[in-house]
């Protein structure tokens, strides 16, 4: 237990370090995180609502709104743990210096996961506030619950980023990962349209942690609580989180030590 607490404490120091660097360009850093969902909501949600008609008794903007919280978690965590981690590892040699201190590889990776959890949670809270202001958050409790779900959703998404960071040979190759993995996940996981469960896509998206996070956030925002479905999506999200974080931990561990 003492060892775990020490690891947690050292991992938290990594979070503090990242925050100190992040806050130097705070507005530049949060702009895309908040602007992208706002643009999607404005252009697609409000723009198309009049044409699309209702989905499950909701306007298109209402349907789209929870997906923006999930999207924030996806992009915040993926970009932070792919480009951000790669830059810290390769160009800034931050970890080489960090690893000369009592911080080890375990704490570095734990710290990175904790950092994306906190960042995604805070960004999700910001987006939820915007949704509340726009009248697109019918369940006010979602303001508190969604950031927590977004935090957990950010973990497997960050694991994808870390795995990519451990595989790519140069920074441009992240574009390939984005185009062929992140973009399809983003567009096809139920953010923009309801996925029919018995369709082929409905089966495929079960293997996407993002889909399960989207569903949990949708239920929370819409104030719907089908227990069995929530349990299924929560279990799947936790399972993906454990599996993918474990794999990425091993990969990054090998990358940081030789």
């Amino acid at each position: 237990m003492t060892e775990f607490l020490q690891t947690f404490r050292l991992g938290w120091h990594v979070v503090v370090r990242n925050w100190m660097v992040y806050r130097k360009d705070f507005f530049a850093n949060i702009s895309p995180t908040l602007a992208d969902p706002a643009l999607i909501l404005g252009s697609l949600g409000l723009g198309l609502s009049g044409y699309v008609g209702e989905i499950d008794g909701m306007s298109y903007a209402q349907f789209l709104a929870p997906g923006m919280i999930a999207t924030t978690a996806l992009f915040t965590s993926f970009f932070e743990s792919s480009y951000g981690f790669y830059v810290r590892m390769t160009f800034e040699s931050v970890f080489k210096a960090m690893l000369t201190t009592p911080i080890g590889v375990r704490e570095v990776v734990l710290g990175e996961f904790m950092w994306v959890f906190v960042r995604a949670g805070l960004m999700a809270f910001g987006v939820s506030l915007v949704l509340l202001a726009l009248g697109l958050l019918p369940n006010p409790m979602a303001l508190l619950i969604c950031p927590i779900i977004a935090g957990f959703l950010s973990l497997p998404c960050a694991a994808i980023g870390l795995l990519a960071a451990s595989w790519v040979r140069n920074i441009n190759q992240f574009q390939t990962v984005y185009s062929f993995l992140i973009a399809p996940i983003f567009y096809l996981s139920g953010v923009f349209f309801p996925v029919a469960e018995k369709s082929a896509l409905g089966v495929i998206v079960q293997f996407s942690p993002f889909y399960h996070g989207v569903k949990l956030i949708q239920f929370t925002v819409w104030g719907k609580f089908p227990i069995q479905e929530i349990l299924w999506h929560a279990t799947a999200l936790i399972a993906f989180t454990l599996l993918m974080c474990g794999i990425s931990f091993n990969r990054i561990g090998k990358k940081l030590t030789t």
Partner: protein, 306 residues
């Protein structure tokens, strides 16, 4: 030397696939010593340094630092060492103070103690006026001095310097040598890797000359020079070999250094006489140094960027 070993390596080896970075390295560093690892890039110096605190996992041999195996107890070791890595790896967007506070936190130093320690070390390195300056505004020499400050934050017992003065101008190099000498006087144990033979001669009690993952010579700089390459060296122009060769004494040594022809003789007067006899003026006459030892032991020229 009877003090306790701080570092004890027996047959330490590291392979990267087919490449043997370290081949059965034996080395003991005792408390209070300053030991140098010399050799060109690729000699295995930094690989060994990495093995000491667990970022490089050895593939053979036994290694203990403060009695701990770095592969199993790296954290216990890292609590007691300070490292100046090859790259400064400072956070460019943060100020000097912010950088140092982060690393003090990593080392478990509370804020109040950290600020006192940082202030003292910045003064010692003549950086106190840069306390609130962003790293990106510092010169290369200032960044290197700050990396020393970072390594000293936790008042380490063992200081590991990985090519500490590479690329620095002579004034900063001399300043850092002075600081290292002071740290030695305080009783700290120091392990330094360097390309610069003169640096090793100035700083180190003992040196290990490494080449291609192997130790090819060990000893105190003066002893090594006296044993392996005693005497004086004359450096002659490139086209002088034909004129020099017939006049060389059997005990003398002839070798090439770059394009120049070099002669090592036991006495300074031997080289003066050689100039008179051959009519060839030396470009330089000097006592032998560690670089000559290196050349003799490895049979190759020492290059900074091999």
């Amino acid at each position: 030397m009877s003090s306790a070993p701080i570092i004890s390596a027996r047959g330490v080896a590291k392979r990267f696939g087919d490449f043997e970075a370290l081949a059965s390295l034996d080395l003991v560093v005792r408390a209070g010593e300053c030991v140098g690892l010399l050799g060109p890039n690729g000699a295995g110096k930094s690989t060994f340094i990495g093995c000491l605190y667990g970022v490089v996992l050895r593939t053979g041999g036994d290694l203990e630092v403060f009695g701990y195996d770095p592969a199993k107890n790296a954290r216990e070791i890292k609590k007691r060492i300070g490292v100046v890595p090859q790259e400064n790896a400072l956070d460019e967007g943060l100020t000097v103070l912010e950088n140092m506070r982060i690393y003090a936190r990593f080392s478990g130093i509370d804020r109040k103690s950290a600020d006192l320690r940082i202030t003292a070390l910045l003064q010692d390195m003549s950086l106190e006026t840069k306390r609130d300056s962003p790293i990106k505004t510092l010169s290369g020499g200032m960044k290197r001095r700050l990396t020393f400050v970072r390594a000293l934050l936790a008042n380490p017992e063992l200081l590991i310097l990985d090519e500490p003065t590479t690329g620095l101008d002579p004034s900063v190099r001399h300043l850092l040598w002075e600081k290292v000498t002071d740290l030695r006087a305080e009783g700290k144990t120091i392990l330094v890797t360097t390309h610069y033979m003169h640096e090793a001669e100035v700083l180190c009690d003992r040196v290990f000359i490494m080449d291609k993952g192997k130790v090819v010579g060990v000893g105190a700089p003066k002893e090594l020079i006296a044993k392996e390459a005693p005497g004086f060296v004359g450096i002659f122009p490139a086209d002088s070999e034909v004129k020099l060769r017939p006049h060389l004494n059997g005990a003398w040594e002839f070798f090439q250094q770059g394009h120049n022809s070099c002669v090592r003789a036991p006495r300074f007067d031997d080289l003066i006489e050689l100039q008179k006899t051959t009519g060839v003026s030396a470009l330089q006459l000097r006592p032998t140094n560690l670089e000559d030892v290196y050349l003799k032991l490895t049979g190759s020229e020492l290059k900074e960027h091999d």
